[in-house]
Every structure is written in structure tokens, then in C-alpha cells.
């Protein structure tokens, strides 16, 4: 049986101080009462120390499988605690460092008393506040005496990797049709209006409200999920998501700033478009190799985009640089979602040029001034502030929406 040297808890330290103080008083004001108080405190400390020494021996902890999670939701990180000793055990605390949960990074969960040879599954449901890839390694088991005066800790090495994806919302619909119908081409062939064409364009995931007659039953049985037919439509075949990652433009709040917001937007877009038959190109800056570029069919590239969004950090690349570096990506008839934190003249000019070329530009601008770290100030800053649209000429249209704190679906709808 291993012994673990216990340390006093907060109340234990207070009791130690009181025991020393009352002992000192007894040495000076010697009388039965002071002696009784000093003896009582010291007796409590002594008994607690002895009982805390073996409080965590004979216990084992195992990590159960868990999935990755999304910011803003809760995730279960179950553990299995087993009592291999012959005697029952008191309740203990399992502690693990989870930087994605809280600021001081440790979360505690209580495990109830265990009978001899009993094991118990601890369902640890934690809220997720930070995205990223995390390596979880150590799990601490904290036990102590019955009165919580001394605590003993035991460490278990249980490595695992966890990916927390950025928050995204499930959107029922994003208007993907282009405003200027005449500008829509597909391999030189103008596309028809949604729903009116006879040609099957492709298959996509079923969305609420889709008619049952459009369900492709064979494909659904094969894929084991319901998919519907997509007809030729005035639909966009190529969508580009451009994510601004300029560090200078990021707000002060570590968890709730404009950068995180546009990342969530990008994740929401990617997630929604995964159910739509189109190509997605994701462009953003990165701190290492000068740029992040992912392209492919929406369904296949969505997961990779989410993975990149989970780990992306702000760097020095601005939107204008990204536009310039990836100018060839923006084809006529494609849709560009520009998620930016800044609004420079160069950027506006380049967006205007893209609009001239036939690219439908939808810009969502989230400046840091609208995401103050102070919650109260944020309330004042919230609300829709549409800077309106500006025309480079009467055929170009760049819609720009500036908002904070509003529903993502509405925001994306506004840009349409």
C-alpha cells in the first residue's frame, strides 16, 4: 500500500495556525481551558493527517473514449475510477487541467464513495470555451480525511488528444443565389433558376422543408443518410471563404473577440456548405508558411477547414494581402465571403475590382471596437450598424454588414 504525504487544505492551514496560536497561549496563560482548546486543535490535526495518508491508495483511474467537441457546447470526458482495495473508500475528487474550460484551467469532479472492488464511471460534462487542439495527460485524484483538513493527491498519466472546434450554429438556409443572374456561368453555360431546371445538378443532404419527392432513396440507403436531388439552379458552384487573421485587428478579450467571431462564422459557413453541392476554397493567413489554402468539394474539405479553424492563430497577414496573393482563385460566377476585421481602402478597392470581374462579394466586417472586453460596454456597442452598400458602378455591388452580437443566420442572410 502506497502512502501519500498529505498537505493541509485551506481550512487545514487555518487549523494549523489556530493550533499553534492556542498552543502559544497555553504556554503563557496556562489553564485547563486553553489547554483543552490547544489539545483539541492539535488532536484534530493529528487524526486528520493519519487518515489522509492512505486516502488515495488502492484507487485506479482509466480514461474512457470521448469525442471531440465544439466551442460553446458541452462535452463529456468520462473516466473510470476503480477501487482495487479490500476496503470501501471515501469520496474523492478527480482533477484535470483543461485549458479549454476555464481560466485557471483545472476542473474538479467528485466521485462518490466506492465499495471494495467497485468501479464507477464519472461522466464529466464540461463546457467548452476555447477552441484548439489539446493534449490531455495528467489526471489527479485528490482525497483526504473525513473532515477535509488534509488532502493527498495522486497523479495518473493518461495521455489523449482532444480537438475543440470553433463554435458554429446550424443554419437552415443561406441565400446562395447570385444577384446578377446574367453573370452566372458554368463552363460557359448559363445556369437556370433554382427548381425550374430538369437536369439533376447533384445530391446534397436533406434539409428541413425539402419535398419528399426530391429524396434520392437509393443514394440515401447507400450513404445511410437522407440526401435529396439538387437540380440545376441559379446556384453558386464555387464559394471562397476568406478569413482575416491580422493580429493587430484582434480585440482584447481572449475568449470573446472579433477574431473568434469571424472564425465561428467561417465554421458555420463551412458546416452549412458541407450539405450543399459546391466547391469551397478556404483562404486565411497563418503564422508559419505564409498562408492557408484549402480547396475541394464542400463535403470533403469541410472537416479539414474545421480542423484548421480549430488551431488558427492571428498573425500579420491582412485581408488585402490575402486578396492579392490569391487573386487567381476568384473566378467570375463565384461567391466570396470576406470575413474581415479591418476596412482599409486597399481592401475595398480590391473587393470592388473583384465585383467588377463578376465575383459576388459578401463582406462581413467585425471591427474590434464592437467587441470590447468589458461586457457592459459590449451591450452598448451591440446592434446592427449597416454601413450600407457602396457602388463602384451600378453593376457592382458589394454588400457589407457590420454587426456584433446578432444572430449569425440573420447576419449571413443580410449579406445576401
Amino acid at each position: 500500500m502506497r502512502l501519500f504525504i498529505p498537505a493541509p487544505t485551506a481550512r487545514g492551514w487555518i487549523l494549523v495556525f489556530l493550533a499553534l496560536a492556542s498552543f502559544a497561549v497555553t504556554m503563557v496563560n496556562a489553564n485547563p481551558s486553553t489547554a483543552l482548546v490547544a489539545a483539541l486543535f492539535a488532536g484534530a490535526l493529528g487524526a486528520s493527517f493519519i487518515f489522509a495518508v492512505t486516502s488515495v491508495s488502492g484507487l485506479r483511474v482509466f480514461r474512457e473514449p470521448s469525442d471531440d467537441g465544439c466551442c460553446g457546447s458541452r462535452m463529456a470526458l468520462p473516466l473510470l475510477v476503480r477501487n482495487i482495495a479490500w476496503r470501501p473508500r471515501q469520496s474523492v475528487i478527480v482533477r484535470e487541467r483543461m485549458p479549454f474550460v476555464s481560466q485557471d484551467a483545472y476542473t474538479d469532479f467528485a466521485v462518490g464513495p466506492l465499495a471494495a472492488n467497485e468501479e464507477r464511471r464519472v461522466e464529466r460534462s464540461v463546457p467548452l470555451h476555447r477552441r484548439g487542439t489539446y493534449m490531455l495527460n495528467e489526471v489527479w485524484l485528490v482525497g483526504g480525511d473525513s473532515m477535509g483538513i488534509f488532502k493527498a493527491s495522486r497523479k495518473f498519466e493518461l495521455p489523449t488528444e482532444l480537438v475543440i472546434y470553433p463554435a458554429s450554429v446550424r443554419i437552415s438556409q443561406i441565400p446562395l443565389d447570385l444577384r446578377d443572374h446574367s453573370r452566372v456561368f458554368h463552363n460557359g453555360r448559363p445556369l437556370g433558376v433554382s427548381g425550374q431546371g430538369q437536369e439533376i445538378f447533384g445530391l446534397r443532404d436533406y434539409r428541413t422543408g425539402d419535398p419528399f419527392r426530391l429524396i434520392h432513396w437509393k443514394a440515401s440507403a447507400r450513404r445511410r443518410k437522407i440526401v435529396t436531388k439538387e437540380f440545376e439552379a441559379n446556384a453558386v458552384s464555387s464559394i471562397v471563404i476568406l478569413l482575416d487573421s491580422e493580429a493587430r485587428a484582434v480585440g482584447e478579450d481572449a475568449l470573446d473577440n472579433n477574431f473568434e467571431f469571424i472564425i465561428s462564422l467561417a465554421a458555420t459557413l463551412a458546416g452549412h456548405l458541407a450539405g450543399v453541392y459546391c466547391n469551397i476554397t478556404f483562404i486565411s493567413g497563418s503564422c508559419g508558411d505564409g498562408g492557408m489554402y484549402l480547396s475541394g468539394t464542400a463535403y470533403s474539405v469541410c472537416r479539414r477547414i474545421q480542423r484548421e479553424l480549430a488551431d488558427i492563430n492571428a498573425c500579420g497577414t491582412c485581408v488585402a494581402d490575402l486578396l492579392e496573393a490569391n487573386y487567381h482563385v476568384f473566378q467570375p460566377g463565384s461567391l466570396l465571403y470576406c470575413l474581415s476585421m479591418t476596412c482599409s481602402d486597399r481592401e475595398s478597392r480590391m473587393l470592388g475590382e473583384l465585383a467588377d470581374r463578376g465575383v459576388e462579394v459578401r463582406s462581413i466586417y467585425a471591427p474590434k471596437r464592437l467587441f470590447p472586453s468589458d461586457a457592459e460596454a459590449r451591450l452598448k456597442a451591440g446592434g446592427l450598424d449597416t454601413e450600407g452598400s457602396f457602388f463602384l458602378d451600378n453593376t457592382n455591388l458589394v454588400s457589407r454588414v457590420v454587426f456584433s452580437g446578432m444572430d449569425m443566420e440573420d447576419a449571413l442572410a443580410c449579406t445576401g
Binding site: 489547554a35 489539545a39 487524526a47 487518515f51 471515501q90 477535509g148
Partner: protein, 816 residues
């Protein structure tokens, strides 16, 4: 609200809050009861209940209401502090009163941090209360200890987790945890008692950090409450007169005559079997004295064979003190508080030298060397009646040149050797010679006689026979009665001592009484009325010899339990004589009447435990004249006790007590080592070593018995299954299922991991595939019966039974 997300959490928080409030009120009582302002104390204690209930009220859950209350209490505490400060009350008192009020500010929320501060204030008040010893404190300590343990237990997981985390939830209270809490409490009790016995219990030479007032009563007795309130009023009363209202003597009112007592000196006492002690439980008087002595009422020196009287000669003797005589004695100061008049005697230790009473003129007292009485011309003073006496007790280590001066009486020793002619039997003579044969000294003779009487006879208040008219008392008691009450023993002791050539006389009064550790007073009750013998020993003076079996002389140290561990007097006064006990003799260093130089004084201070050598050193100095002596004594007292700052004595006290503490630990460890290496210790260790194998054997027997019972139960189940096979297939399947579960548990394959049934059956494949298959088959039938709508017929029951039998045979084959 309060960050509590569920109803069980909220209920637990409320329960904890109430316990905290109860603890707080007890700590206020421990700190302020009979110490602080009575009104504030009572108000603060009674506030605990509404504070405990307020969080249950809806309107109180609003933040603004709570915040307002959290401001009100500190403000009220501050106002009270200013008011008390202006009254010139000791600062620690009004500070703790203000703290008690202000602390309630933490009692209006259910937040963990606030509760922590609440508990901290409780602990501070508890430590403070210990500095001022009162009975209430000792009474409350066990409750507070248990309550504190319960609070800590219920909030254990909060203490183990981090502050910033969500409450992990209440896990305490489960049956599994009790088996840890109770042993821990038991171990805590053992440690507390052990450490308490090692810690020093008294210090008479230093005020400590604060000058503790040992005169406060501090009980829950309602009659004492009026004293508490009265004290506050008396302080502001310009006359300053103290009255004990509500206290009437038990037998008489304060203005009536004395009751007739059986112990009046004029009457003497006779051995007629009526018993000498009044069988009552009332408090007669209290004594504050540093020595444990017998409290004398009257002396009897003439014996006529059946009764003792005080002769005229002895009454007329007067002790004239002088420098030469005083240097032979220790001055023992006593403060008496008479609570009930038993007689006109004012009790005191022998030999009284000086008596004074606050409100009673000395001229109305009759003082002699053997006692003090209220004169016939005086009035009966009110109760409680307080008077001070200084008694002289001889030094026990006097050199021979000085010891002769201890006999100052005009009567010669022969007066105290007289026995009635023709009344003392020869067998009594022989007995005296037999008992004292081989005694080395007079002291040895006296001790032998005393121990003989103590060990050979039994005590009874109602002897079987009355003294026959022509019989002699001591002879009758020793050879006929073989038992008696204290007067018999005193008489026998005196007679045997006189026969052995030792001057002796009989004394009556009260035995030392019960010593109250808290108030540092002897509490003498009616049942302490007693008779004993005084014997003159050359070189030591008149000493007290109590021949009564000591089990019949009650002298407890209260409060019970704690008193047993902290008895400052021990049993030395019974084994030696009260006058020669070390604690009495060392009073000499505190009441010096000789001129000493500083070196010798230091020597005396450092060798207080070795008092005989210090006394020898003292006696080498020649006493100076009166003025020089007075200056020297004053200087000594100034050095020892007159240090104006509390720090000097406090530091000395700290050092001294630390030495005593470590000495006590060393002594305890030595005693433990001696015990362990002695017969008893070895026997104990062997018994402990043997206990484990006995436990193993007993456990194996218990397991075997359990297995036998389980096996029989399985057999019965099979019989039951067979009987239900055709008549009730469902019952048969149920029984087969139970039988299989029992057999698997008996074989050591229980479902310890609480697996789902089929998973459990599948897990048995590790033991045997066939076993697993058969088990699963029965589980399948059972599940179908329990959860599906299909009926179970005899085919199913037959298969279940068959499979169960196969499982049994398989387990039997594996030896399980």
C-alpha cells in the same frame, strides 16, 4: 442563486448554513457568556436563529436585501465598539463583542467564501474564550467539537476542490463514509486527551498575555444569570456593594438564628453511632487556597472512653507569634466564602494566625489557635460571607535546633498522651505495640497506625451495633465492630497514637472538598463534613492524620473527566500528610519572610522542585532586623511578581511551561517504554500480534459459514424450481435465474462491475465457454419473461432448469 444549480445542492447549502449559525452562537457563548456585556451577548446568541432562517425567505434572496444586512451589522458593531470604548472597559472585551456582532455579516449568504470567514470568526472566539476559564466553556467544548466535525464532514468535498470551481456536489452522508468519520473522531479524542494530559494546567506566577479573571462563574444555571446582570450594575453602582440576590441559606433566612449543629465545640461528639457527617449535598463554603488542607472547626483533646471534649486548658492557650516563631512556619493564605451556615465556626486550616472579613468587625470574632468563631455578641452576617485567614504550617525540613520551637503550647506533651484510666484494654495496648513495632521514627509510627486503620476496617455511616455503655470506643471499633464512620477512625487513631507515645488529639471540620479547575476553588459540601486526628511529630509539628479509608473521603477535581487529567494536587496529600505535601511546602518560596540576597533567590527559583535543598539554603542565612527584612521582602516580591509590563513574566511563563511540556512528553515516553518492556506491555503486544491471526481465522470461519448458508440456499432454490417446473413455469425460471446468480457469486464470479446482464454472461467465457453459454441461455429466457410479452411455457422452464443444473455441475467440477 448563490451559484447552486440543483435542489439537492441548495438543500445541502441550507443545512450547512444552519449548522454554521448554530456553531457561531455556541462560539459567542464560549467567548462572552459571563464575560462580556450580558445584553449584547444574549442578543448576539439569539440572532443566530433568524440569521439561519433568513435565506429561506424569498424577499431575502434579493441582492440588495442581503447587501443591506451585510452593512448593518458591521455598522452596529462599530457603534457598539465606540460606546464601550468610552466606558473604559478592557479592550479585549469590547473588541470581541464587536467581532461577535460584525461576524454576522458573513452569515447572510450561502457562498463558500463567506462561510469560511464565518467559521474563522467562530474559531477566533473559541480561542479567546479559552483564555478566560469558565464552566460554560468546558460544557460547550464537546458540542462545538462534534458540530465542527459534522460541518467539516458535510463540506468535505468543497474543501478538497478548488475555490473557483463549481460545487462538485454533496457526496458526504453516504454509508461508506461513516466508517471513516467515526474512527477519525475516536482517534481525535485519543490525541486530544493525550495531549491535554501533557500540557501544563496552571501557572500561578504570571498573568500571561492577559490577566485572566478566575472569579467569574460562567454557568448556564439561571440563578447565576442574575449574578451576571448584577455584576454589570454593580460596576456602575457608586456604593460598590455587592449583594448576592436570590441566594438564601438552605435552612434559615439571612436574619434568623443559627441552626443547631451536631458539630458545636461545646457539645463535643460521642461515638454513639449517630454518625458524624450531615448527609447533605448542599454547598457549605468555598475556599481559595494554594494548598489542599483540612478545614478545621474544633479540636478535642480529652477522652473519657466514649466521647471527646475540648478541655478548658486547651481553650485558654494563645499562640503568640514573633519573629523567632514565624520563621518556622509557612504562611498559607485562604479566602473563604460561606454559602450556608452550619455552625458559628469559621473554618480554616490549622493553625490560624490571622483572620479578617470585609464586612464583619474583628472584635466580634473569637479567635484561638485552634479555630475562629463568630462571637456571641456579634450579628449574623449576610450570605455569602467572605473572610480571609492566614494559617501557619510548619516547615517540614527544619533543623533540629529550630524544630524544638514548634512546641509552643503551655500544655506539655503529656496532656495529649492522657487516656482514661482503666478503660483502655490490654489488647489495645498490644495492638498499638504490634502495629508500631519496628517503626524507625515517630512519623513512621503515625503512618503505620494510620495505614493499619485504613486498610483493616471498612467505612460505614450506620454501624451495626451501638457502643455499649461500658465499652471503650477504640477497642469496640477495632475488635468488635470492625467498621465505623470517620469519628470512630479518628478516635481509634488518636487512642493508638497516644498508646504509642505520640501526642494526639481529634479534630472535626471538613475534608478538603472538591477542587474546581476552572475557578481554582475548593468546593466543600455537606458530605465533606469529617473528623480526623492531629498528631504532633517532633520536627514537623502538628500534622493531620486521616485514618478513614480514603475511598470514603471524597475529593474530586471538577469538571469531571478533565479534572482527572489535570488534578494539580494528586494523591500526595492522602499518602503523606497535607502539611508535608510538596505543594504545601513549596509555598515557602512565594511567601518569604527571611532576608535573601539575589543569588539565593535565583537558586530558590530554579530549584522549586527541589524545595528541601532550597530550604536548607534559606536556613543558612541569619534573619535581619525588621526594617531591612521588610525592604528585602518587598524587593523580592517586586522582582518576582511586580514586573509592570506583562511581557517579562509572560516570556518566563512561556519558557517554564515549554520546559514542563517537553518534560511531560519525555516522562510519558519513558513511562510508555517502561510499560512496553514490562510484563503488561509485552502481554499487550503479544495480544495485538495474536489478534491478526485470530481475525484471519475468524474471517475464514465466517466465510465458510456464509458459503455453507449460500450453498444450502441454492439447493433449496433448485428444489423450489423443480416443484414449480410444471405448475408455474415463470416462477421456475425466476428461481433458476436466482440460483444461477447465487452460484456464480458463491463461486467468486459476481457481477461486481454492474455490467448489463448479457455482457455479464458473456464475460464468463473467460472462465469457460460452456458456462457462459448455459448462463446466457437462462438470462435470455429470464429477460424474455421480464421484458417481452411472450409467455413462458414448460419448454422454457425445462430448459432453464436444465441449464441451471449444468451450471451447477460445471461449478462443482471446477471446485467452486
Amino acid at each position: 442563486m448563490y451559484g447552486l444549480s440543483s435542489r439537492p445542492e441548495y438543500a445541502r447549502a441550507i443545512l450547512l448554513h444552519m449548522l454554521y449559525c448554530l456553531m457561531y452562537s455556541l462560539s459567542i457563548m464560549a467567548a462572552l457568556w459571563f464575560h462580556g456585556d450580558p445584553v449584547v451577548t444574549l442578543v448576539a446568541v439569539s440572532l443566530a436563529l433568524p440569521v439561519a432562517l433568513l435565506p429561506l425567505l424569498k424577499f431575502f434572496r434579493r441582492e440588495i436585501t442581503r447587501s443591506t444586512m451585510q452593512i448593518v451589522f458591521p455598522v452596529a458593531a462599530g457603534a457598539w465598539l465606540i460606546h464601550r470604548f468610552s466606558e473604559r472597559i478592557p479592550s479585549d472585551r469590547f473588541l470581541i463583542e464587536s467581532l461577535a456582532l460584525a461576524g454576522y455579516a458573513f452569515g447572510f449568504t450561502l457562498y463558500k467564501k463567506d462561510r469560511g470567514f464565518f467559521m474563522l470568526v467562530c474559531a477566533v472566539m473559541l480561542v479567546y474564550g479559552g483564555v478566560y476559564p469558565r464552566g460554560i466553556f468546558i460544557m460547550l467544548m464537546p458540542f462545538m467539537a462534534l458540530l465542527g466535525a459534522m460541518i467539516f464532514y458535510l463540506s468535505r468535498t468543497d474543501a478538497l476542490s478548488r475555490w473557483s470551481q463549481e460545487n462538485p456536489g454533496n457526496i458526504g452522508g453516504s454509508r461508506y463514509s461513516w466508517c471513516y468519520l467515526l474512527p477519525q473522531l475516536l482517534l481525535m479524542f485519543v490525541f486530544t486527551v493525550g495531549l491535554y494530559a501533557l500540557l501544563p494546567g496552571e501557572d500561578a506566577t504570571s498573568h500571561g498575555f492577559v490577566a485572566s479573571d478566575f472569579t467569574s462563574k460562567g454557568n448556564l444555571d439561571p440563578s447565576g444569570l442574575s449574578d451576571w446582570f448584577e455584576t454589570s450594575r454593580v460596576i456602575s453602582d457608586p456604593t460598590g456593594r455587592r449583594q448576592a440576590s436570590g441566594q438564601n441559606p438552605s435552612a434559615v433566612s439571612e436574619h434568623s438564628q443559627m441552626p443547631v449543629s451536631a458539630l458545636t465545640a461545646e457539645k463535643g461528639f460521642s461515638l454513639d453511632g449517630s454518625g458524624s457527617s450531615t448527609p447533605g449535598d448542599e454547598l457549605v463554603f468555598k475556599v481559595r487556597c494554594d494548598s489542599k488542607l483540612y478545614w478545621l472547626a474544633a479540636l478535642y483533646d480529652e477522652y473519657n472512653g466514649d466521647s471527646w471534649k475540648t478541655s478548658g486548658e486547651i481553650k485558654g492557650q494563645v499562640f503568640e507569634s514573633s519573629w523567632d516563631t514565624q520563621k518556622l512556619y509557612i504562611f498559607i493564605r485562604q479566602e473563604f466564602e460561606i454559602r450556608k451556615w452550619m455552625s458559628k465556626s469559621l473554618f480554616c486550616a490549622f493553625m490560624p494566625s490571622f483572620c479578617t472579613a470585609n464586612n464583619y468587625p474583628f472584635k466580634f470574632m473569637d479567635q484561638s489557635f485552634h479555630g475562629i468563631r463568630l462571637g456571641d455578641k456579634g450579628f449574623v452576617p449576610n450570605l455569602p460571607f467572605i473572610y480571609h485567614v492566614v494559617s501557619l504550617v510548619p516547615f517540614s525540613g527544619l533543623p533540629a535546633t529550630d524544630s524544638g520551637q514548634l512546641w509552643w503550647e503551655s500544655l506539655d506533651r503529656g496532656h495529649y498522651l492522657k487516656l482514661p484510666e482503666g478503660r483502655i484494654s490490654s489488647r489495645l495496648h498490644d495492638k498499638a505495640a504490634e502495629v508500631t513495632a519496628g517503626a524507625a521514627s515517630d512519623m513512621d509510627k503515625a503512618v503505620r497506625i494510620r495505614d493499619y486503620l485504613r486498610s483493616s476496617f471498612s467505612y460505614t455511616l450506620t454501624p451495626e451495633k451501638r457502643l455499649p455503655p461500658d465499652a471503650e470506643g477504640a477497642d469496640f471499633m477495632i475488635f468488635e465492630l470492625r467498621s465505623g464512620h470517620c469519628e470512630y477512625f479518628a478516635c481509634a487513631m488518636a487512642v493508638l497514637a497516644r498508646l504509642a507515645g505520640l501526642p494526639s488529639r481529634v479534630a472535626t471540620g471538613f475534608s478538603p472538598g472538591n477542587f474546581n479547575l476552572i475557578s481554582r476553588e475548593f468546593e466543600v459540601y455537606e458530605y465533606h463534613a469529617h473528623a480526623w486526628t492531629q498528631i504532633f511529630i517532633e520536627g514537623k509539628g502538628w500534622l493531620t492524620f486521616d485514618a478513614t479509608p480514603q475511598s470514603a473521603v471524597p475529593s474530586r477535581t471538577t469538571p469531571r473527566g478533565i479534572g482527572m487529567l489535570k488534578d494539580p494536587f494528586g494523591d500526595e496529600w492522602r499518602i503523606r500528610t497535607p502539611e508535608t505535601a510538596q505543594r504545601t511546602q513549596r509555598q515557602a518560596s512565594l511567601y518569604l519572610t527571611r532576608s535573601l540576597d539575589n543569588n539565593l533567590l535565583e537558586h530558590v527559583r530554579n530549584s522549586q522542585n527541589n524545595h528541601s535543598s532550597a530550604m536548607d539554603s534559606l536556613l543558612t542565612k541569619i534573619p535581619a532586623d525588621g526594617l531591612e527584612l521588610k525592604n528585602t521582602v518587598l524587593g523580592i516580591r517586586e522582582k518576582m511578581l511586580g514586573d509592570k509590563s506583562a511581557l517579562g513574566p509572560a516570556v518566563n511563563s512561556f519558557k517554564r511551561n515549554m520546559k514542563a511540556f517537553f518534560a511531560a512528553i519525555t516522562s510519558a515516553l519513558k513511562r510508555l517504554f517502561r510499560f512496553l518492556t514490562g510484563m503488561e506491555g509485552v502481554a499487550l503486544l503479544l495480544a495485538a500480534a495474536a489478534a491478526y491471526p485470530v481475525y484471519i481465522i475468524a474471517r475464514s470461519f465466517a466465510d465458510a459459514a456464509r458459503r455453507t448458508v449460500s450453498r444450502r440456499r441454492c439447493e433449496n432454490l433448485f428444489d423450489d424450481a423443480i416443484s414449480h417446473l410444471k405448475s408455474s413455469p415463470e416462477e421456475c425460471v425466476k428461481v433458476c435465474y436466482s440460483a444461477i446468480r447465487n452460484m456464480l457469486e458463491l463461486a467468486g464470479y459476481p457481477n461486481s462491475r454492474k455490467m448489463e446482464l448479457f455482457d455479464y454472461g458473456a464475460s464468463l467465457s473467460k472462465v469457460s465457454m460452456q458456462l457462459s453459454k448455459n448462463t446466457l441461455a437462462v438470462f435470455h429466457i429470464y429477460s424474455r419473461m421480464s421484458y417481452s410479452t411472450s409467455n413462458i411455457d414448460t419448454t422454457d422452464s425445462e430448459e432453464a432448469l436444465q441449464r441451471a443444473l449444468l451450471v451447477r455441475s460445471e461449478l462443482d467440477n471446477t471446485g467452486k
